[in-house]
Subunit: 191 residues, 2 copies
């Protein structure tokens, strides 16, 4: 998506070899017009997949997921909550999300009543790196008996393994921008 | 706001004497059309106050704040991040948020570059109870030299002290629905 790539070129910052800092428009300060347009772009990419619901992770995925939910004609959005330290709960689906970047893991949960068996669900998140968040969300969808129709991402770190692994499994993954690397603070975008 | 009150009457649940559970449309599952309309209602309420930016707290305030930012003609949105355990940081404004409900406190932070002195800022949040989040956000705006133009809320617990205290200070607070109490699981809404 050209407008996102422009924003990354203009305002993004690469740190070290693997940190893509875009918090001035995507995940701390939000450029409302840009994120709205990103939601519309995800709708275009997944319109034929007809999701019933969008699932994301709190917190930084929420704005993009909400914009996408609007673009799909105001379908509902569910965001996982950080929380339970238990691995099971009577009224929630629980799954771990492993952060390879931070080297830790935390549980997320979704109230069972909001994911009905057979629902067609699109996962949306601001970032895809090693796929830890996507794996946790897929576990929740499997527990709930929902159908994953695809994964829509703002910025994918193409030099990390998450996107490649998911696509190798046959999952439809669409990222609005893919970063191929960082060179001396400069973010290298895939054409 | 009538549509919100209807949703609270239909789907909200009161628990004990003070828990207002609206997570099936506001803060876990999101009713996209309703939250979009709530953002428009906040725009109507604060249009004359001409905010430059909306400030909210991650995570459950983000969708409503984003919808409001859209309604104000796509002004930017900043959400505080949970984080620093330190009370100061060179590049962030930091303030504690005291949760009277949970009896604990945590720090939130905003990168200094996103709040410029003199900016007119509207605080938006999904809930207002004892005013702990509002106090933390006001502290951040004071540190930054920004002007608070008002506080827009989804659901106010009118039986707790936050809203009354803020209004007594002369701050413009608009809540789209006010809950006056809970009676045997039934949520009592103010007319």
């Amino acid at each position: 998506m050209e407008a996102l790539k422009e924003a990354i070129r203009r305002d993004g910052r690469g740190i070290g070899t693997d940190i893509v800092k875009v918090d001035c428009f995507l995940n701390h300060r939000i450029d409302t017009a840009l994120v709205t347009a990103m939601g519309e772009a995800l709708h275009q990419a997944f319109a034929e997949d007809k999701p019933d619901l969008i699932l994301t992770v709190e917190a930084s995925g929420i704005a993009l997921a909400f914009a996408a939910a609007q673009a799909f004609g105001n379908i509902p959005l569910v965001f996982t909550k950080k929380g339970s330290h238990r691995n099971t709960a009577d009224d929630h689906y629980v799954a771990p999300i492993i952060s390879y970047t931070k080297g830790d893991s935390y549980n997320v949960q979704v109230s069972k009543q909001y994911l009905q068996p057979g629902m067609r669900v699109l996962i949306v998140d601001d970032f895809l790196a090693n796929g830890g968040a996507a794996a946790g969300l897929r576990s929740i969808l499997e527990q709930a008996g929902c159908e994953l129709v695809g994964i829509g991402i703002g910025v994918e770190k193409g030099f990390q393994s998450g996107g490649g692994q998911l696509r190798a499994e046959g999952i439809k993954v669409v990222s609005l921008a893919i970063v191929d690397g960082i060179d001396n603070g400069r973010i290298i975008l895939r054409d």
